[in-house]
């Protein structure tokens, strides 16, 4: 067990410390690490246990770094991998398969940085960060006065649980809720999710840009944040991170300028 664990640790550190601009070099190193890991793969059962154990962290830390939009991919690959490892004979094959897919995915990753303020037809009213496991509010950012953000977080989580277990299959997640001209977009990460309250027409580009923002935010701050105690200290950290990400992005568009409005607000 320690041997495998160390490799995951190394992989994680590598990703955390490395220069994020240098994607190509970094990807190479990651793949090297995966190669080493593969060599260590002599006990499929232990390997599966390690993967399972470090899954949450790996996904929050690795996901954003490896590029936009592949979190879900990793998440589903991880569980697929684990499943096939359980049918021991297929272990090595699965790992190769996993690696190949990851490789392809990384090759296709671009650092495309479309500015969110190009989206003019909708306005972002509010952002909640909510722990998946408990439905507890981790942080919130808005310029409108919400009566009970704690309650909203709990309710959204209950509704999400309801929808996902009533209609969902294993890996499906509720992505949005609509109410008259309001739309709540949900961006799921492993340990938490973001809920964005939007008003107006939300096009695909806006959704994608928001997703990029949340991936960046998770990459920079939230991915490695400990969630053991949900207290005001944690909330402050999260809210500062939200402000740092969103006050800039929305400058220049009064509709979307939640940073500035916030100063008069709360």
């Amino acid at each position: 067990m320690p041997a495998e664990k160390d490799h995951f640790e190394e992989l994680r550190n590598l990703i955390l410390e490395s220069d994020r601009e240098n994607y190509a070099h970094q990807n190479e190193q990651i793949l090297d690490k995966l190669d080493e890991l593969e060599k260590e793969l002599n006990d499929p059962e232990k390997f599966a246990a390690v993967i399972q154990q470090s899954k949450a962290e790996i996904i929050d830390v690795l996901g954003p770094v490896m590029g936009k939009m592949i979190k879900k991919f990793i998440s589903s690959e991880m569980s697929r991998l684990k499943q096939s490892i359980e049918n021991k004979s297929k272990a090595l094959f699965s790992f190769k398969f996993f690696k190949q897919r990851l490789k392809n995915k990384m090759a296709g990753v671009s650092k495309g940085d479309a500015a969110i303020n190009e989206a003019v037809d909708s306005s972002l009213l509010q952002i909640f960060v909510i722990e998946q496991e408990t439905g507890l509010l981790i942080g919130e950012y808005s310029h409108i006065n919400v009566l009970e953000p704690d309650m909203v977080a709990g309710m959204l989580s209950a509704i999400k649980s309801f929808v996902e277990s009533a209609f969902g299959e294993e890996n499906s997640e509720l992505e949005s809720l609509e109410y008259s001209s309001y739309k709540i977009l949900l961006y799921n990460f492993n340990r938490f999710y973001f809920a964005c309250v939007m008003e107006g027409y939300v096009d695909a580009e806006t959704r994608a840009n928001l997703q990029d923002d949340f991936l960046d935010l998770t990459d920079k701050t939230l991915g490695s944040i400990p969630l053991k105690d949900i207290d005001d200290k944690l909330k402050k950290t999260v809210e500062e991170a939200l402000i740092a990400t969103f006050s800039d992005k929305y400058l220049g568009n009064p509709e979307l300028n939640i940073g500035e409005l916030d100063e008069n607000g709360k």
Binding site: E131, T134, G135, L136, M151, A158, S161, D231
Partner: protein, 162 residues
């Protein structure tokens, strides 16, 4: 003052008084009608433990008509579980004892659980004799308000001291 948030789930048969216990002292509650659709009521209660303010997010589950998956989903991550029964209906005690066994035997080892024997105001005999066959942590009356506050405070205290 430092503030922390915790998730508390209330379990127990229909009619034992879960909703009444919550309603009595909660800080805020959502419109009932809307929530019966998804089988849950969420409310918030704030208690103070020493110099810590604890936001208790209460999940009141109407468990009888819901799938096991959904039920488990609602329970997920709970820091505390109140198992509520009705002093007038021994079968409700049996059913929470079964539930406790199920919960404790699985993913809820680290979860604080407490048994509430509710409707103490309806007991006409000497309570000690009447209740001698039962083991519980709190004897409450949601109707009169007896012990309700202290049950929540004790739960918060236990969770914080973990």
């Amino acid at each position: 003052m430092k503030t922390v948030s915790k998730k508390i789930v209330l379990l127990g048969n229909e009619g034992v008084g879960k909703t009444s216990l919550v309603k009595r002292y909660v800080h805020s509650i959502f419109n009932d009608e809307y929530l019966t659709t998804i089988g849950i009521k969420i409310s918030k209660k704030v208690v103070e433990v020493g110099d810590v303010k604890v936001n208790l997010m209460l999940w009141d589950i109407a468990g009888n008509m819901m799938s096991k998956t959904l039920y488990n989903n609602y329970l997920r991550g709970a820091h505390g579980v109140f198992l509520v029964c009705d002093a007038m209906r021994p079968e409700t005690y049996e059913s929470i004892m079964n539930e406790r066994e199920n919960i404790l035997s699985k993913d809820f080892q680290g979860t604080e659980t407490a048994v509430i024997m509710n409707k103490s105001d309806l007991i006409t005999e000497d309570p000690t004799t009447y209740l001698s066959a039962f083991e519980f942590d709190f004897l409450t009356s949601a109707k009169k308000g007896d012990n309700v506050e202290s049950a929540f405070i004790q739960m918060a205290t236990n969770i914080l001291s973990k």
